[in-house]
Symmetry: C2
Subunit: 429 residues, 2 copies
């Protein structure tokens, strides 16, 4: 946490006027915006937890400019956070743009000293989570997100990279540990113990929160997942792949905000997507105008959850069959037809193990949004707190089962079936 605890020489927090002068001096930015700098509109719109985000619009086009603050925006200067996260975000964006072109915002400019990234303005894209709260269906989402995950995860893994290159990549992201620590604390630890920052929909969930703090089977399961997060350098993760880190239109998908990027277990990214879709599904009852009003949307969500896994697995396996240039599973050990068949069985077994990881991480990502510090609008916008708590309790029930009894979920269909059952369950408050 000491890295950049004191902002480096040359860093300053930009105000809107500063940013105008700054961008006017960056030819690529000025050209993208067009017209005289005086005519550019600049608005700080960051509603995330960590950074400043400016929307800049010029005569021809726009830009989004993200600047890291030397502390957690949500909390203030008492919680310092290294500016170096902007460096890792830039590294990750570059990696993702190369592997999943068109699925991340194009970067125009990076300033290491100012901890600033200027990128394409995504319009008319909205944060996917907002669209899901509104009950919007995104028909292109499954294909896009599974391309993004299959390619960024596969091509950073030992299946695709020679070991030397992978070790160098791990080292390149090792300094991003302050961001990892946030995940380690807020996802893998605090929701399961008394922690000042925890909150939940009280009084309805007081008993559930207490149960989760006392549930030793759950504590063993979350600790095993945390250990995996700490020690399993499987692939370069986005690290925060929830529906608030995805911007969408009906036709387009862009994954943003990879500042939590590091080498970790693949299931953490996949689980983030599935967890947030499951929460959208179980929160949906809280947004109905009348019972059943969102049933088509909910059916689409369940189908999407199934396809996120099945399409991810299909694309990942296909990459493995055709692009395996890494040091793991050398094809020379699997010669001939019999060898090819055995390797194919092992690929399926690898993906089955990854599915087990995904189930556990999915559960972890749900629980932290209901009992931990950071909540999401899927639930928070349900004004009737008893109804909100009902949706949350259903999610907790599903998540606990997934975490403690992950092995009983052998297919993604078992997950959606359990989600349907949770949707019908009435907690007793």
């Amino acid at each position: 946490m000491t890295l950049h605890a004191v902002p480096p020489e040359g860093y300053r927090i930009l105000r809107e006027g500063d940013l105008r002068d700054y961008l006017a001096g960056i030819p690529a930015a000025a050209a993208q915006l067009g017209g005289p700098p005086d005519g550019w509109s600049i608005n700080e719109v960051g509603d995330g937890n960590l950074n400043l985000v400016f929307i800049v619009k010029g005569a021809s086009d726009g830009l989004a400019v993200k600047q890291a603050l030397p502390y957690v925006r949500l909390v203030g200067e008492s919680w310092p956070l290294p500016l170096s996260r902007s460096h890792y975000e830039y590294l990750a964006l570059t990696h993702q743009a190369r592997l999943a072109p068109g699925l991340v915002p194009a970067v125009l400019h990076h300033d290491e000293q100012l901890a600033l990234v200027a990128m394409e303005l995504l319009e008319p894209h909205i944060i996917m989570r907002k669209g899901l709260v509104a009950g919007t269906i995104y028909p292109a989402f499954v294909d896009h997100i599974t391309i993004f995950m299959a390619r960024t995860l596969f091509f950073s893994s030992d299946l695709a990279l020679p070991a030397a290159q992978k070790k160098e990549a791990i080292a390149a992201f090792a300094g991003n540990h302050a961001l990892c620590k946030i995940t380690e604390d807020l996802i893998f630890t605090d929701p399961y113990r008394v922690a000042e920052q925890n909150r939940w929909t009280s009084p309805w969930l007081d008993a559930a929160a207490a149960q989760f703090r006392d549930d030793l089977d759950l504590h063993v399961a979350i600790s095993r997942l945390k250990l995996k997060f700490l020690s399993h350098a499987q692939a370069l993760l986005h690290g925060d792949l929830h529906t608030g880190s995805i911007m969408v239109t009906a036709r387009e998908t862009r994954v943003i905000d990879p500042e939590f990027a590091f080498y970790g277990p693949m299931g953490f990214d996949i689980g983030a997507v599935i967890a947030n879709l499951l929460m959208a599904y179980l929160a949906s009852a809280g947004h109905e105008s009348e019972p059943g009003a969102r049933s088509a949307f909910e059916a689409w969500l369940l189908e999407t959850i199934e396809q996120v896994w099945s399409e991810f697995a299909r694309k990942f396996l296909q990459l493995w069959r055709t692009e395996a240039k890494g040091d793991a599973y050398p094809v020379s050990l699997f010669p001939g037809e019999a060898g090819a068949a055995r390797l194919e069985r092992e690929r399926q077994a690898y993906v089955a193990r990854l599915f087990q990881d995904t189930i556990g991480f999915t559960a972890a990502k749900i629980i932290r949004r209901i009992l931990g510090l950071a909540h999401n609008i899927d639930f928070e916008l349900i004004e009737d707190t008893r109804l909100r708590a009902t949706c949350e309790a259903r999610s907790l029930r599903l998540a606990r089962k997934m975490m403690v009894d992950a092995a009983s979920f052998t297919t993604i269909g078992a997950v959606t079936q359990a989600a349907r059952a949770a949707r019908e369950w009435q907690p007793e408050f």
Copy 2:
């Protein structure tokens, strides 16, 4: 492999005369040796595969000086190898000296540019493997090696280190990938396929070598172990912990040559020790003057194998109970008596998983010494090649079972029992 492929400015291969002048200019070395430099004896004695090793003796005391060559000594300049391995060896020696004082040679001097480490001369210690071939019992070995492994592995793991510190340590060793690559190729790949460098005791083992190259169950198992070696950053390993990397007297033990050090799976180090003791046991029949002449030695070996595991596990668990300052398994999630009991069960489960890893890596370390490039004198000094092949075939039989059916070995007693059965088995040549 490109790192230092061209030796850096200032590097030169030292001759004996150069070394005299060099050491005379290093006050700590000159003081340790004593007397005028002209009176120092200097002999190059390196019988390892990679480096120069000089024994230097002066009026008062001696020194061992190890210099890395920019290529693999065993093969020559056609196989370049980075000098940076000397840097990693020095880092690892420092780490081990801090955690396991008295169990590694004391370092007097390190020269990064010359890729040179000067350290305490170990006298009258001999390479343990030579002692085992001679049938010598080392009563202090179990205690020493289990202290070494328990402490170096525990204190570099997520059980002992905060995540930030562990990530920095992983990055500090990530550049040692050329040495890891040797392991990846020679242990985890080549013995299972046609490779120019493979050799075995022909013609006796021709059929076994062919079977191992065709055995797809074995290829899946070794590939899973390789994947673990590539991606599981569990602890800082010695990385080459065979009985040729251990020097002993009846009372003392020193672990040397940690130039393969990197963050990997703990079972790889533990398996190296157990594998080399199993090979000493199964080679022993080849060194008997008459049947049964080494039975007390062999009984000691089996007992030692059992104790290496059981004492390692005991010491490791005890460290976990008393020194767990890492981010994994936070004690705050296991409060009260019930919590403490549950955490203790989980510690046992962790060690049981580690045992499974150890079984697999043990098998891998045996097979590579019989079918791969680098063999060991346990077998090589058996002059009757048919008898040598018999000992080797027994080892292969045991190792195959351990690798493919690791789950059936739930205790170390099952391993020694299988070793006893292998000792009695007569291969048909």
